[in-house]
């Protein structure tokens, strides 16, 4: 088994991230301080011209919600989900 | 609604105006007082410090008048009736917060026991030179109600009126006393609680989802709520809409300020109060207020002895000003004589209201003591002789 496969098999929690693209002001706090580095600024922008984040590496997210805590505009938050045996998790 | 008996010191007393004012506040249901010591008003808060703890009330001496004038507004939004007390220099410091109370429509009472000014002036001696400041002292367009007692008994009665008017019109109310009335001791009769009418706060009957804190009814006065009841209040000094949310454009300004001003202006006839004596057939009418009214009465007597037909109009509510009545009188009399303990303040209103229809005579006094009744008498006699 590769390292990644071991990780995936033993991972206990997943995260789901919700982003309000229109409320975001593109400050990048979430991208910077995500411990798993799974967020990136979108190349596309919202109607105000800001680049909101996207969850570029969803499998790396564990739902710690640090992005949610940092966000000055309440436009992102994460939910921690318990892993199921197959596929994604339940809360 | 009648007064809460626990706050009513029923009986016949020998009190000075300051002490009587405090008792009036208690009778009206005031249970929060914040103040800062300043001569000649300090006795009001000293009595409050002694009496309020017994009524479940709270008195706190704040660190300055600016703090006192806003602490009372916090207390009002927590649900209490509240007052502060000051004199000239403190009154000037409180101006910003009188404006805040006006735009947030916070019912509260300010007692100003006027002294000689300007600046530190004559702390222990009377004046009446804050009358225009009472009306215009804060920045912006707004309306207040101001009353002027002429005796310790009236200090008691008018204190109750002040709280009632504040609740009825959701406006800051100013009680413009002076050092003379504040420090003179006279008989004060405090009646039984059940005979004292007290206006309760206009608590909203609406549920939080329907209630808008600045949505007014036909009398232009919104109903009120308090913190802690789930109303998600939003109270701001910024120009705001009916929800209390700030809106920074001329339309919101027009809507809000227009209503705030009309709230009092369109109901002036309901709010004004004055007393008249010997108006019928008078050649000269003396317009006065506060302690000067008592001195003017003597002056009028002396003038009558010299054959002049003199009437008296005593302003009890000074702001809003009874323009209509003054205009009526101006059409009938030869002169309106206005003695006041300043260099001409309310006389400007009398002149304005008279529309040039009669002579308006100012009898000024720098303050420090009351007028000599002879001086007022002479002014009346001179005014009577002059052909307009």
């Amino acid at each position: 088994m590769t390292e990644t496969e071991v990780e995936k098999k033993t991972k206990k929690v997943y995260g789901e991230v919700y982003i309000d693209r229109e409320r975001c002001k593109g400050c990048s706090f979430c991208v910077e301080f995500c411990p798993a580095h799974c967020l990136e600024l979108d190349k596309a922008y919202n109607s105000k011209g800001y680049h909101p984040p996207v969850l570029a590496r969803p499998d790396d997210c564990n739902g710690c919600d640090l992005c949610g805590l940092y966000c000055p505009d309440f436009s992102i938050f994460a939910v921690m989900l318990k892993a199921k045996k197959n596929g994604r998790g339940v809360s | 609604m009648h007064a809460d008996p626990s706050g009513v010191l029923t009986g016949q007393h020998y009190l000075d105006g300051n002490h009587a004012a405090c008792e009036g506040a208690l009778a009206a249901g005031c249970r929060f007082a914040a103040g800062y010591p300043i001569t000649p008003s300090t006795e009001i808060v000293e009595r409050a410090a002694a009496r309020f703890p017994f009524m479940g009330g709270m008195f706190i001496q704040m660190e300055d008048e600016i703090a006192a004038s806003i602490a009372i507004q916090g207390a009002v939004w927590a649900g209490k009736k509240a007052m502060t007390v000051t004199s000239g220099p403190g009154f000037s410091l409180m101006m910003e917060h009188i404006g805040l109370a006006a735009i947030t429509e916070t019912p509260c009472v300010f007692f100003n026991v006027q002294r000689g000014g300007p600046s530190t002036g004559l702390p222990t001696l009377p004046g009446q030179a804050d009358m225009m400041q009472a009306r215009w002292g804060s920045h912006g367009d707004y309306e207040i109600i101001a009353l002027s007692p002429q005796s310790p008994q009236e200090c008691f009665n008018i204190a109750i009126d002040a709280f009632n008017l504040a609740e009825q019109w959701r406006v800051p109310v100013l009680v413009m006393m002076d050092e003379c009335v504040g420090h003179m001791t006279e008989r004060v009769i405090i009646p039984k609680a059940e005979t004292i009418a007290v206006t309760e706060r206009r608590w909203t009957k609406k549920k939080p989802s329907d209630y808008k804190p600045f949505e007014a009814g036909p009398d232009l006065v919104p109903d009120m709520a308090k913190a802690g009841d789930g109303y998600h209040l939003f109270v701001t000094g910024l120009t705001h809409d009916e929800r209390g949310y700030p809106v920074m454009n001329w339309q919101a300004q027009e809507k809000l300020v227009h209503r705030l001003v009309n709230k009092i202006r369109l109901s002036t006839e309901k709010i004004i109060r004055f007393e008249e004596e010997d108006i019928e057939g008078a050649d000269v009418v003396v317009v006065s207020y506060g302690i000067t009214a008592r001195v003017a009465r003597r002056g009028a007597e002396l003038a009558r002895q010299k054959g002049v037909k003199v009437g008296m109009l005593r302003l009890v509510v000074v702001w809003p000003f009874p323009e209509k009545r003054i205009l009526e009188l101006a059409s009938k009399v030869q002169a309106l004589v206005v003695p006041e303990m300043n260099y001409g303040q309310m006389v400007l209103e009398v002149e304005r209201a008279a529309h040039g229809k009669t002579n308006v005579v100012c009898v000024p006094h720098g303050g420090g003591e009351v007028h000599d009744p002879e001086v007022i008498a002479e002014a009346i006699i001179r005014a009577a002789k002059q052909r307009s």
Partner: protein, 299 residues
């Protein structure tokens, strides 16, 4: 990702007023987020929660929070909060304002409320500048940073806010930066469980006026500076907590003590003086807690 779920802090916000006026990269919103988390975690009765703020960017916080919000005059939220709390001790009263509002024009009210130990929580967002009015110098501005009213560089000594609060008698004093989100939320939670005058300073970026004018980058750059240069020293002497221009920032919980609140002291005195004739004034929540100093808070 899916957008159907609602941000758990939404019920605490006046959603009809979003987005906020705060600039991209401003730290105020972050502090409010921490505040929202702290409220949920400490199970405060939000019906009884009143937010009082003054004038300035941080002063706008009361307008975005969906509690009883009072946006008062410049410098005076603490005096208003004193009246609010003393008139109804059942209320949880939080003053949320900026350092210019609370410490410059509001300085007098700050020191007296701390002295009296009025039972309020004061959250002071310190961004070293008067942001709302365009970037003027403030009582915490470090030398030689540049401001519109100090165009050749600030030369005055800045206030050390935890030292000031400590010396005036505050019972809880902490400082964090907006990088320290979990610590801010914990401090606020701890503060909710205490009574008396509690003070939390939150160092935050002002990207538009402080950062930009002083060529310090944007809000993110400020956050990186906080991450790099902050040192956590719980229990440190408040005298040693000065912040100079781009210097080390000492953060932590510095003071956590107990002393009688204003109302406790009042009741105590009146009872001694008046005996049975005095009916004690209600004290409000947290007063049933035993007066035990908490163990030193950890990061």
């Amino acid at each position: 990702m899916a957008n159907e779920a609602e941000n758990p802090v939404n019920p605490y916000l006046r959603m009809d007023r979003m987005p906020s006026i705060w600039c991209p990269g401003c730290g105020i919103g972050t502090s409010v987020n921490c505040f929202a988390r702290a409220i949920t975690q400490s199970k405060v009765d939000v019906k009884k929660l009143s937010i009082v703020s003054g004038i300035g960017c941080t002063g706008r916080v009361s307008g975005y929070l969906n509690f009883d919000s009072f946006h008062t005059t410049h410098g005076r939220p603490i005096a208003f909060a004193t009246g609010l709390k003393l008139a109804n001790p059942e209320l949880h009263v939080v003053v949320y304002s900026g350092e210019g509002d609370l410490i410059a024009i509001g300085g007098n009210h700050f020191i007296h409320a701390a002295r009296r130990n009025v039972d309020i929580l004061v959250v002071c967002v310190n961004n070293f500048v008067y942001g709302m009015t365009g970037g003027q110098v403030s009582p915490t501005s470090p030398s030689p940073a540049s401001f519109t009213t100090a165009p050749y560089g600030q030369f005055e000594e800045p206030f050390n806010l935890p030292y000031l609060a400590d010396s005036c008698g505050a019972v809880y004093v902490a400082r964090w930066t907006t990088f320290h989100v979990r610590q801010i939320a914990k401090s606020m939670r701890d503060a909710f469980g205490k009574k008396g005058f509690r003070f939390i300073e939150i160092v935050a970026p002002c990207p538009t006026l402080y950062q930009r004018r002083n060529r310090l980058g944007d809000g993110l750059d400020a956050m990186r500076y906080y991450k790099e240069k902050s040192v956590i020293k719980n229990g440190a002497e408040t005298k040693s907590l000065r912040i100079d221009f781009q210097s080390e920032i000492t953060v932590g919980t510095f003071v956590d003590r107990e002393r009688p609140t204003f109302l406790e002291a009042m009741n105590d005195r009146f009872q001694k003086a008046l005996g049975n004739k005095y009916v004690p004034y209600p004290l409000g929540p947290n007063h049933e807690l035993k007066s035990q100093p908490r163990a030193q808070a950890s990061a």
